[in-house]
Chain length 280, copies 2
Amino acid sequence: VNVLQLPKHVGIVGLGLIGGSLARDLLSRGVEVTGLDRDTSQIGNLAGSGPGQMRLADSLAAVTVAPVVIVAVPVGATIAVLAELAPHVTAGHVVLDVGSTKRVVVERAEALGIGTRFVGCHPLAGHHTSGWAASRSGLFDGAPVFICPGNATAPDAVAAACGLWTALGGCVERLAPDAHDAHMAEISHLPHMVSVALALTLAESGQSHDALGPGGCDVTRLAGSSAEVWGDIVAQNRARIAGALARFEHRVRHLRNAVERDDDAGVRALLDEARSWHSS
Amino acid sequence: VNVLQLPKHVGIVGLGLIGGSLARDLLSRGVEVTGLDRDTSQIGNLAGSGPGQMRLADSLAAVTVAPVVIVAVPVGATIAVLAELAPHVTAGHVVLDVGSTKRVVVERAEALGIGTRFVGCHPLAGHHTSGWAASRSGLFDGAPVFICPGNATAPDAVAAACGLWTALGGCVERLAPDAHDAHMAEISHLPHMVSVALALTLAESGQSHDALGPGGCDVTRLAGSSAEVWGDIVAQNRARIAGALARFEHRVRHLRNAVERDDDAGVRALLDEARSWHSS
């Protein structure tokens, strides 16, 4: 870990799972952190003004005292936060986000005139738990982190973002915002919606979550995620998620047809294909 | 744990995840174990003839030297094993299985004339790994165990089965074979098929398993299970699994329609409903 890649002072808007974990990691590396959240009552002894403690801001403007500002709120709220931050963003600032969709957020930053200083980021470190209580140090260690600058983003801002995530152990991968959203629709948003649809099916059948064995718990785990975070993600990646769900429906129907047709060899071939993919 | 509920000697056919874990738990409680498997090369120093070691049998008949015989092979093979065991089963024997379907197996035991001595059992302790290497002591501690006697099963055989699983830490629940299969179609077989269908969708899109974050890994974990074990389960619970998949397809379509229609409130309500179910 090259600590030299870290800025001296970072502002964090939203101290949930991602923002809280960022605060922990940065504080433990000697970085000064100024944080803002709608509810800071849970933060306890990490908040304060001494070394290794997080200063709490009382406004978005106050967070821009730091040269690097990370917006770590649900992607719908990110739009509103960027609008309020924009008047305070100078050529000396770098602004990052951490959300699971990138196209809409990057377009919005450009429309607000802060496109040169904004770098869309997405650490693949989400979890079905949320909030400060779910945050932990080391969350980004070994995690893929997508860096999705817009066409206007300045190279020094991209370099600052890459340096920060790398210093926290992330494996940085650069991807255009739209390509990122297409990729996430498949590997993250689709699994999420599948988990939700299974939870809804079991709820409808009157099965309780307690009845599940370890396997069923795994498949339905994501259904326990924040509806606020995921409602926003769906709203910003609608067409791609709907397309992925349609392809998934086609595979479910294909599998059900083999089951119904009494086609043991066909079912076995599909189970084998799934297993090969899983272990490849 | 009431060790008095355990028989002195247990025969186990199939030393995979379930059979191997049974062997470990029984040996560690001082029960004599005679095991049989198509491949015993991995068993190592648990095999032998000393105290705490498992004797290896070379035929199904040789396993019936024990008064309690547990058949722990894929549910398709269980049918064949029961047919071969039947001539050796006396009124002094109790025969159990451990598979994820119960109706076909219990009917088969009755047709073979061993219905009075056979108790269909199903510990909800499966995993996507399999084989002796995946077995471990304590697997059944706290696990639900369904006990599904047929109409012909003798009460002393049911009591012996309940005593054995209880002594290993299992939480015994009695259920008729058909009711068991209907319940499993929902809470276990459906989640399995959903995980498989997602794996097939991602494979078709050219996504590798490596690309997934922790959430996607959870939802696709069951797709890594043994195709042999699950092909047999599908063959024995076909109509119920197809029905559950049809209900699931309906929920996926409903969710996709809300996503496509730009219906933010509708999507949010479904996410909320799934989350409430998960945390209830």
